[in-house]
Amino acid sequence: MSATGAVRTLKIDGRDCSARPQATILEVARENKIFIPRLCQLEGLSTVGACRLCLVEVKGSNKLLPACTTTVDEGMEITTSSEELASYRRMIVELLFTEGNHICSVCVSNGHCELQTMAQRLGVTHIHLPYRYPKKQVDASHERFVLDHNRCVLCTRCVRVCDEIEGAHTWDLMGRGIDSKVITDLNQPWGSSESCTSCGKCVQVCPTGALFEKGRSVAEMEKRRQFLPYLTLMRGERT
């Protein structure tokens, strides 16, 4: 292993890549235009390794490793796509579809949804598992935004952007396992939240139609995320 500060050289899908030390596999792959699917990770936010879609094979490791949190090492050999990985990824996306109530045809995010795009890209054509059809609520108490739990994939981007970028920490999680859900304040209606600044960052980072702006109809909710790289860049320069 080379000294800290030196450039790391590694192979991703047989291609030679160089990387900064401490860079993650996902960052290096993106710089080299190698696609690795992910739903919870978003550039500018902390990583949690929760969606498991970015799992990759690393030579010498008997476990699959999440590309978003695994930092590169000198001489690493990484495989980002294989038949096994593809089947795992398809199944994970399938699980998400069975967990909530994802009805694309009536969704504000139809056509602009990361879950939908991911399913198309990974070739999920059928859902082999039975749907759960849970009874979930919609919180439309906020004057500008709506939270629809039916479409939430629990990526926690909203929780992280509110805490790390806006600094309000309005969002959090409650419940465990399959009953987990995102909440505002201490599970109060969003509209009555005293910590929410109504900045709307949560809405823009949400990968699906779980968070959307009021007044949007089917397929009209396109997320605008340009602020995030801009804000993180500004903060990076300030420190």
Binding site: T69, G175, G177, I178, S180
Partner: protein
Amino acid sequence: MTPEELEDIAQRERETQREFPQRVNVCVAAGCLSCQSDAVKEALVKEAASRGLGDQCQVKGVGCMGLCSEGPLVSISTGHLYQHVSARDAGAILDSLQGSLVEQLLCPTDTPFFQRQKKIVLENSGTIDPERIEEYIACQGYHALVKALTEMTPQQVIAEITTSGLRGRGGAGYPTGLKWSTVAKAVGTQKFVICNADEGDPGAFMDRSVLESDPHRVLEGMLIAAYAVGASQGYIYVRAEYPLAIARLKTAIRQAERLGLLGANICGTGFNLHIELRLGAGAFVCGEETALIASIEGRRGTPRPRPPYPAMEGLVGQPTLINNVETYANVPPILRNGGAWYAQIGTEQSKGTKVFALAGRVRNTGLVEVPMGISLREMVFEIGGGIPDGKEFKAVQTGGPSGGCLPRETLDMPVEYESLARAGSIMGSGGMIVMDETSCMVDVAKYFMDFCMTESCGKCIPCRVGTYQMHRILSAITDMSAAAQDLKLLEELCDLVKHTSLCGLGQSAPNPVLSTLKYFLEEYQAHVHEHKCPAGACGVKMLEKVDA
């Protein structure tokens, strides 16, 4: 505290003990307490006082004696053990100290249950009063700590642990010496030691018993570990469902602090360690080390990807040593007797002894400590006394909800980390549940999957939704409503959840299903294809439903 002062306390305590020609020990650990052993103790004390035996006969509460199924247990100074004792028997027991024994209460101790055990972790359980530090000191307690502080360097302590071959007793079996040396080498502004006492496996109670019966042993192990790795702050993360263990730990911490064995400038050597308790709120996943750390930090108890391991970045980002209760409890005897002594016990790759909570369909249920490498057959049929009511043995489940069910064919396999893993189970923390022919293995798998589904933290998708889907299929099979392709789907889900989940909970959640699919596939097929349950367990349940 110098070695001389410590020896002084030990001497005084031994003399005090000798002043009593007669002794009666009553188990006051949770198992016997739950069948009113406190009333037994009270009655004995009262009876002894009314006979004017106060200065001749000592009645004291002690920790677990192991055979929990026969409680309340009382041992007397003639070396005999009484079982199923009630307060009414107080007079007869006191009579028996000099006269003839109370035959109907006598518990035979020449059985394999007692004879096959080798007690290292439990050496003081059932003999000392867990609420008096002097009794622990009289049994060589804190001698290993003083020896380490005054005669050994931290490197020598770690070398001794490495020589012993001790492996983590929480389940994964990581070499303890290696873990300690990683933390010792790690750089940080402050280092921490944490004791994981968040024992949550259904049917497992090893850690609770150690904490209730001999809490100072765990403190001493943590102190030695902290000295070895250079930590100055310690936490014991114990589940709130263990009120007795918590109370005894609090007492133990206070006593050790008063004697200068814990706190600042320990034994005048300049070594500091403060230990605080943190109570878990009942989440199984908080036994996972990164979730446990998050919980101590006051955050939601969910795991995070490793690396970085806690040894490098743990509590508040600082190097942190996390070990299980039983691992720490092994440390003092290793330092007292040397690593080589410990390494003689057990097998090539699994050294020492392991405490198991033997439960389920066996005659003797309770807590046993056996050398590693003992066979499952010896565990079930000799120590456990076999299956009651003339039933046939079917399977033994090791390692809690993350473990597997092992059938008759594996009975001669030695109990050690590697062989259990090869057979599709794990050592786990030491739960061992025996099942007979009346248990339906699909139903068992469903039970454990229900546990994992409920205890999933919900962070990663495979565990959150995968355990739900697996549980749904298993429920369908036991309801006789599953289709043939459901078995294939179940296998696919097992594979996915095992290989893609974030933490150990998810990665091991399919184990009960995978092991029963491997060894008891015909039971699954009978449910699916013939709509019947060979064990009769699932059918009975359906009848009950009809009746209701």
